[in-house]
């Protein structure tokens, strides 16, 4: 109903305005519509249907009067000219219209004012908003600046602190130096005072002495002189004595240096031994662990192990004297130690990781990896055990012989065989020589006996010859030429030189026999000379020419008391 009435009014207004050429903006129209809410009926909705028709004029009039009254225009009301007439009394109607127009104008003014006010307000609002944002920006900026300044202030504070501490240390330093200076100064002054006091005493004494003039001579009064502590007599001071002092001094210095050097060398050797041992142990620790997992490094260390084993023996002695080798030893130990340390660190980290894993994650996955690890480690352990076993075996072999079993045994056999053969050979030779020697000895003895007999015969011959000569010289008629001559003793005097040269034996025998030339005495043949005498005369015994020391075996045999015999080229000397 309201809506219809509103529409009606709006239509009506439009019509009015169209008539009176008052245009209204749609917005105003809407505003008007919105501002006023009339209790209007809803029945008529269309714009065309009017509020007032021919039928409801009095209702409309009363309604309008009501509305006017509600607007405060109770004084003006519309009347019909007469009841039942469709026409309106113009004056109240015009008044009412005029009032309404006034009202309308007023509300328009109000509206304008309000709009103006609103505009103003919105512009101030905008302005305020702008200034607000501007101020916010400014605020932010200033906050940032403030923090920046805070920061610089803090840094400056820090700097102040450090500078203060520097200053403090410098002050302390200065104070310390001052105290040092003070103590030095007091020490100097103390010394100076002491010296001055001594000088004063000296002066006093000097003056006293000059005054006194009773010089007490220094003297020693001993009952009797003592002997020296070591009982020796006093020596003159000679250059020999001084040089001997120098010698003694240098000797004592040298012996001290030697002693210290000896002890240092011993210490050095000990330490080197310890280092070598450490190195070996470290390598031993490192090598078996690595084969399964770390291939490259394992090879490296394996190589190193084998390398060092072979080099060790040769290096042992070298280490002692060669500085280069010493450095090598220390470097290799450092290397090994680093490796060992890294290995241990790795193990440690692994262990800690494993522990962390265990602690953090107690699910299936770590267990699996754990199982894998365990399996792997078991394999590794097995491998290591085998390896260690193999190494032990090798080591054992190495301890027994320097080569491995078969070849060593074979070689041993070879050697012993060779030795045996050689020994057999030599024994054979020795037997042969022994036999030879026996034979020769027999020959010699026979020859010597023969010689002895011959000598005897010769002597007899000579004696007889001499006798003959002597007898010939005398007037004895009985002359005998060529006294008893054996077949053997072809030793006529004329033949002597030949015989002398004929055989070695007689040549050798001449020295002993011809000494008795002057006295014609039948030389009693001495008993058959002993073998050694014989040999000596026959110059068989120790003459360095006949020595031969080619083989050890011969010397052994010689010590048995037999004379020497030699092989090879010297054999001819006996023939």
């Amino acid at each position: 109903l309201h809506q219809n009435t509103l529409d009606f009014i709006s239509v009506k207004n439009y019509e009015i305005s169209s008539i009176s050429h008052v245009t209204m903006s749609p917005s105003r129209r809407n505003n008007l519509v919105s501002m006023y809410s009339f209790p209007l009926s809803k029945s008529s909705y269309s714009v065309i249907s009017a509020f007032c028709t021919e039928d409801n004029i009095p209702q409309c009039i009363s309604y309008i009067n009501q509305e006017l009254a509600s607007l405060g225009l109770s004084s003006t009301c519309i009347e019909a000219i007469s009841p039942g007439d469709t026409g309106l009394s113009t004056v109240p109607a015009l008044n009412a219209m005029y009032e309404l127009l006034q009202i309308h104008r007023r509300s328009m003014c109000n509206l304008e004012e309000l709009e103006r006010e609103q505009l103003r307000k919105s512009s101030t609002l905008e302005h305020i908003q702008m200034s607000n944002t501007r101020l916010k920006d400014q605020l932010e900026l200033s906050i940032r600046e403030k923090s920046g300044l805070h920061e610089t202030e803090r840094q400056l504070q820090l700097k102040i602190k450090t500078l203060q501490s520097c200053l403090k240390t410098e002050k302390d330093e200065v104070q310390k130096l001052q105290s040092v200076i003070a103590s030095r100064a007091s020490q100097y002054s103390h010394d100076a005072k002491r010296k001055e006091r001594e000088a004063v005493k000296l002066k006093e004494r000097l003056s006293q002495l000059l005054i006194d003039r009773k010089d007490k001579k220094l003297a020693i009064d001993v009952l009797n002189c003592l002997g020296r502590a070591d009982g020796k007599r006093r020596h003159w001071k000679t250059t020999k004595a001084t040089s001997s002092h120098e010698d003694e001094m240098y000797k004592s210095l040298l012996s001290d240096y030697e002693a210290s050097q000896r002890s240092l060398m011993l210490e050095n050797a000990e330490l080197k031994k310890v280092l070598q041992q450490m190195k070996k142990e470290m390598m031993h620790i490192l090598s078996p662990r690595q084969p399964s997992t770390r291939g490259a490094t394992a090879d490296d260390s394996q190589e190193q192990v084998s390398e060092s084993h072979t080099c060790d023996a040769s290096r042992e002695s070298l280490d002692q004297y060669c500085e280069h080798a010493r450095e090598q030893l220390t470097n290799s130990i450092r290397q090994q130690w680093r490796k060992l340390r890294n290995h241990v660190e790795r193990l440690d980290s692994q262990a800690s990781q494993a522990q962390n894993q265990l602690e953090s994650n107690k699910e299936v996955i770590p267990r699996e990896t754990h199982e894998d690890e365990m399996e792997r480690m078991r394999c590794e352990v097995q491998q290591c055990r085998e390896f260690i076993h193999a190494q032990q075996q090798l080591l054992q072999q190495q301890l027994n012989t320097s080569f491995d079993d078969e070849t060593a045994a074979l070689l041993n056999d070879c050697y012993t065989l060779e030795e045996k053969e050689r020994l057999k050979e030599e024994w054979r030779l020795f037997e042969e020589q022994k036999r030879n020697f026996e034979r020769e000895r027999k020959n010699f003895t026979e020859a010597a006996i023969r010689l002895g007999r011959e000598k005897k015969a010769f002597e007899e011959d000579r004696a007889s010859w001499l006798k003959n000569q002597f007898l010939n010289m005398t007037p004895f008629t009985h002359r005998r030429r060529y006294s008893s001559s054996d077949g053997q003793s072809a030793l006529s005097i004329s033949n002597e030189p030949e015989i002398r040269m004929s055989s070695v034996k007689s040549q050798l025998a001449k020295s002993s026999t011809y000494t008795t030339f002057s006295t014609p005495r039948p030389s009693q043949s001495a008993p058959v000379p002993s073998t050694t005498e014989l040999y000596r005369t026959l110059r068989l015994i120790p003459d360095s020419r006949y020595y031969s020391v080619t083989l050890l075996v011969h010397r052994v045999l010689r010590s048995g008391g037999m004379s020497i015999f030699s092989l090879g080229e010297d054999e001819n000397s006996f023939t």
């Binding site: 040092v180 103590s183 002054s189 220094l218 020693i220 002189c225 502590a229």
Partner: protein, 449 residues
């Protein structure tokens, strides 16, 4: 432990003969010689004046008595009491007198250190050594008695003269690089001479027997330097105690410092044992108190004491020295090696109540002994690693690696032990008071903590 009765002595002059059989003491102007075991008086000699210095000759046959006031030295013979010898320095005065190592020469230093006169008792001959230096330790004999080193000051420069004691022939004479030589000491093996400068400059020089400079050591500059120096009996180490409260150890191979021992006021972070002397006041009328203490009558002075092991950290009482005085009471003034070179005992002057024992094998602190009063004297047993010390009270203290013990010296009238000397056999100790002396015979192994 047995204590002998108390005898009189003056001037702390009481010495055992080098062979350990006799004990010589000076009482006023008399010289008394006793047998060490029985303490019976064997000989009695009378000198012309109060004796200032007394010394046995090396062969234990003669005793030298020097009277510095009169400038006289008298020598007495033990075998022949009638034998006499008197050396008169005349107007030149006498400042010090000593035997030569052969026991047949006497070296007298005249007043003002004008010269050193060498008197021969064999020939009555005299030799002079000019310009000897007046310093802390200007003369030292090598242990084998063959050489004597003497510090000389000539034309404001320091020199060292090495003499052969046999005939006083000057073997070497060389200048030292010191500003003001304070002392010299032979190493026990007689091959190295340590020379040190005065405390104004930290400098220790090591010279070989033939005069070559082996090495120089200087720990720092400007502050006060060396206070004391000691060789280890094996000649392996040289300990240098300085005013900065540290001991530096040099080794005989490179002559470089191998370690330094510090003496902090607060001992912490060490494996050493700290023994603190605690007095136990005997309660009057308690059953514990032994009877003889009461009969002594001087219970106030004879308080028993024992050692307690203190847990670390321990604070040692420090007395700050007067900074204006010369030779301040700070720094390591006493160094003593045990006979096996295993231990080193030190004393820091501003911690006068403490004795520090260092283990030379481990190069660390072994023990600290804190006494109730300032330690006067300590000395190692000549044979064992046992340290005896005294603190100017009536007690004798002994330390060994097994423990520490405090022994009351049982004398009437309170005998304050000022200094002590071991007998050369290590079996007894001679305790010297102000005017008294007492012998202490050791039992076998008496240690308890």
């Amino acid at each position: 432990m047995n204590f002998s009765e108390v005898f009189k002595q003056t001037n702390q002059l009481c010495k055992v003969s080098p062979d350990g059989k006799y004990l010589a003491t000076c009482v006023q102007y008399r010289l008394v010689v006793r047998d060490v075991s029985t303490l019976q008086i064997l000989q009695l000699y009378t000198c012309l004046d109060q004796v200032s210095h007394m010394e046995w000759s090396s062969d234990s046959l003669f005793i030298l008595c020097a009277m510095y006031n009169r400038g006289l030295v008298q020598v007495w013979s033990l075998e022949q009491p009638d034998w006499h010898c008197k050396i008169d320095e005349g107007s030149i005065g006498l400042v010090s007198s000593r035997w030569s190592p052969d026991g047949r020469h006497i070296l007298n230093t005249t007043e003002f250190h004008l010269r050193v006169t060498v008197w021969s008792l064999c020939t009555k001959a005299v030799s002079y050594i000019k310009y000897p230096k007046a310093c802390q330790k200007g003369i030292d004999f090598s242990r084998d008695g063959r050489y004597m080193a003497l510090a000389e000051r000539r034309d404001c420069k320091d020199y060292v003269c090495v003499f052969v004691c046999d005939d006083w022939h000057l073997l070497r004479h060389f200048e030292t690089e010191t500003q003001d030589l304070a002392g010299l000491e032979w190493s026990p093996n007689g091959c190295v001479l340590a020379v040190w400068d005065s405390c104004l400059e930290y400098k220790v020089l090591l010279y070989s027997l033939d005069g070559r400079l082996l090495s120089t050591y200087s720990a720092y500059e400007w502050s006060l330097g060396v206070k004391s120096v000691s060789w280890s009996p094996s000649s392996q180490f040289l300990a240098i105690g300085s005013y900065d409260e540290k001991v530096r150890i040099l080794n005989h191979i490179t002559w470089k410092k191998i370690t330094q021992f510090e003496h902090p006021a607060i001992i912490d972070n060490t494996k050493a044992t700290v023994y603190k002397e605690a007095e136990k006041r005997p309660g009057v009328g308690s059953d514990e108190m032994p009877l003889h203490n009461i009969t002594m009558g001087a219970t106030l002075f004879n308080t028993q004491s024992k050692y307690e092991i203190c847990p670390l950290p321990v604070q040692i009482p420090v007395v700050k020295p007067d900074p204006d005085r010369a030779s301040p009471k700070i720094g390591i003034s006493v160094l003593a090696f045990s006979s096996d070179s295993r231990y080193l005992a030190t004393k820091n002057d501003n911690m006068a109540t403490a004795v520090w024992v260092w283990d030379m094998q481990k190069m660390s602190l072994e023990a600290v002994l804190e006494q109730t009063s300032a330690v006067r004297c300590f000395q190692w047993d000549p044979l064992r690693p046992r340290l005896a010390l005294c603190a100017g009270n009536t007690k004798l203290y002994l330390w060994s690696p097994g423990g520490c013990v405090s022994v009351q010296v049982p004398t009437e009238g309170g005998f304050q032990v000022q200094s002590l000397n071991w007998h050369c056999s290590g079996d007894s100790l001679i305790l010297l008071g102000k005017e008294q002396l007492c012998l202490c015979y050791m039992d076998t192994d008496q240690e308890d903590k």
